[in-house]
Symmetry: C2
Subunit: 392 residues, 2 copies
């Protein structure tokens, strides 16, 4: 830059202003600088040096609770990020996806990230990456979960939405089932009934706190054997050996609250959670859902109502049902979540929420460009009732 200044016959500061604050210098000076820069092949201010001095990078960081490629593979993440991208574009900010792979070095990737703020896409309460983000001291917004003091938070009321959906899809059912996202970071897929005697707790573990919620039985070395708590060594994929599914022990806030919502709805009919069969998918894919749904739909207690946590998973159920010769909603009522493009053609009852809007809101919040609506409005959702829950 010094060379350019000399060649243009101006001071270094004039060159700096010519790039950073074009209005600060005269047209004449700016032209001289541009000309000299062109002639000398000066590529413009070094971004690193600029960021070192100014303290800003012009990047918004995005951290996924999944492998980096999910940003482009998972339809839900993609819609969310589209909203984030829109806001970034509006403000001329680049969008930096931090390369998370599920390995311990993820923490380093976050620490090294050259960004001005973070947006976090749903992860587990005990994900160390969240602590690393907190440690940077940069503004950060978490979507879905976990909640933490000091980090902003954006999410729909998943429990209420799941309860509303449960009322719809479980109505008149005798053998309800749930197709769930993973319960924790191990992402083990399995099929099991709900834990018996599980009380319906109001909101335990959902309040913001400085760490993961302490769950009975995992809090200390004196392991209290609480019914339904997954023992560390019992993570198997065998349906028979699987312990019961306890919503309250899921470390993914979204999953936890949706399970609770379904449980709420079933309890309202006088049913017990232990009657509900839950298939946990390790990924949000129709393929895996099809396999697990086949398990739910066969055997002596085959499900006649399934609430799936995404439309993707629900489509897997539809495929499984078709293969088994079951009709929807005749033999089986079914619900999805998110109102994806495929939901309407499939007649799928679903929860509509605009992940794109939520992504945009997260980005605005992170960048400090809040609108009044961001502050005052709850995240919107509504249930779209279609044929898949019209029990004859």
């Amino acid at each position: 830059m010094a060379e350019v200044a000399r060649a243009a016959g101006v001071s270094m500061m004039t060159v700096s202003y010519a790039y950073g604050q074009p209005g600060r210098v005269s047209d004449e000076a700016r032209a001289k600088v541009r000309e000299a820069a062109e002639r000398l092949g000066y590529p413009g201010p070094h971004p690193g040096a600029r960021s070192l001095r100014s303290g800003r990078t012009g990047n918004l960081g995005v951290v996924l609770g999944e492998h980096l490629t999910y940003a482009f593979d998972d339809p839900q993440a993609t819609r969310f990020l589209s909203g984030v991208a829109q806001v970034c574009a509006d403000h001329g900010m680049a969008l930096t996806l931090v390369p998370v792979t599920g390995s311990p070095s993820d923490v380093d990737r976050v620490t090294e990230a050259a960004v001005d703020a973070f947006v976090v896409w749903t992860t587990a309460d005990d994900d160390p990456v969240v602590d690393a983000i907190t440690a940077t001291g940069l503004p950060a917004v978490v979507h879905g979960g976990p909640r933490r003091d000091g980090l902003s938070f954006v999410a729909a009321d998943d429990r209420a939405a799941a309860a509303a959906m449960g009322r719809e899809v479980f109505a008149g059912a005798r053998h309800p089932g749930v197709l769930s996202f993973p319960l924790d970071r191990a992402r083990v897929s399995r099929v099991a009934f709900g834990v018996p005697g599980s009380r319906v707790l109001p909101e335990a573990g959902d309040a913001p706190g400085s760490g993961p919620p302490q769950t009975a039985g995992t809090a200390s070395g004196t392991a209290v054997s609480t019914p339904g708590v997954t023992a560390p060594d019992s993570r198997t994929t065998s349906a028979d050996a699987s312990p019961g599914i306890d919503p309250d022990t899921s470390t993914f806030r979204v999953t936890r609250r949706r399970l609770r919502g379904y449980r709420d709805a079933w309890a309202e009919t006088g049913g017990d959670w232990s009657q509900v069969r839950v298939a946990v998918c390790s990924t949000n894919s129709a393929r895996e859902a099809e396999t697990l749904a086949a398990e739910l739909l066969t055997g002596p207690n085959a499900c006649d109502a399934i609430a799936a946590m995404s439309d993707e998973l629900a489509l897997g159920v539809l495929r499984a049902a078709a293969r088994l010769g079951l009709t929807v909603p005749g033999d089986l009522t079914l619900s999805g979540w998110d109102d994806s493009d495929a939901a309407a053609p499939a007649g799928l009852t679903t929860i509509a929420q605009s992940l794109r809007d939520q992504g945009a809101r997260c980005a605005r919040t992170a960048l400090g460009h809040l609108t009044p609506a961001d502050r005052d409005t709850d995240v919107a959702w509504h249930l779209i009732s279609r044929t898949s829950t019209r029990r004859p």
Copy 2:
């Protein structure tokens, strides 16, 4: 960092190594550093300072020829970027999406980008963003186009693939049609026949060069009126007033070569390009395709064969055909491109190419981690023949 060094009782360099090259210091020293850092709340090396001194940023930049949100909205871009993301994750590199919006300031966004290399997703030959990338002097790989000296290039042989497809979909047709991507950055949608008398040029304008290809009639002030060349003031959306479509004037390399390929195939049957009706879509959306396809499928010379440049567009044709009571392939043969998830269920003949693999190859090339296959293998494509081209 100096403070941490003092608190830990070591030199600054030891602290630096403890973070940047943990193997360079003893376990003991590293522990002391980590402890002191923790105690002082030191968040780790400042990324800007690090990049200033080391010359590396740990970011791979991605530039789209479209608005930033296309990264998450367009299924083809999404698959491509999934491949890029995979390679980034493998190498611990962050993925930075440069906020391109179609405005002149895009050039500044590129210049300011703190990245080690660029990957460019298909854009126009005259996109100034490409020059800005060249000016940075950083390694860059262009996917699709344009070709430029000094920039690496990855693409399938679109002309050959389109020719193969044309042979399949135009076989036995009397009124062929094409559903095309935009011809140039104006992205004007329109419907028109091919220009008459258009000679089949081998590869004009496709060789790498330092600038956009010079096309007859646009090269200089003395505007030579060449048949079929779009005059600057004739960009209208009215089908009647539209000048003919000339493949050779499209500034998008991919579009240009696919149009040429279709023209090649039709010429092989003895047909003239002026018999081919072309609908240009401004975006890659089934919605718009449906509207334009309706135009192709009605009137005195309704098309009985349509080659679409993407499966998305082809699905729009299917919808339009269904609404008009036309059957595929009975009344109309149809082809898509890319073999998206929806293609097989729809029985759509298509060109399969792995955009994910191509994205990965671009990223490897940009980052200088080439595999032997990257060097020696052409980008693969093959035609998948399904029912949509089985003319009875």
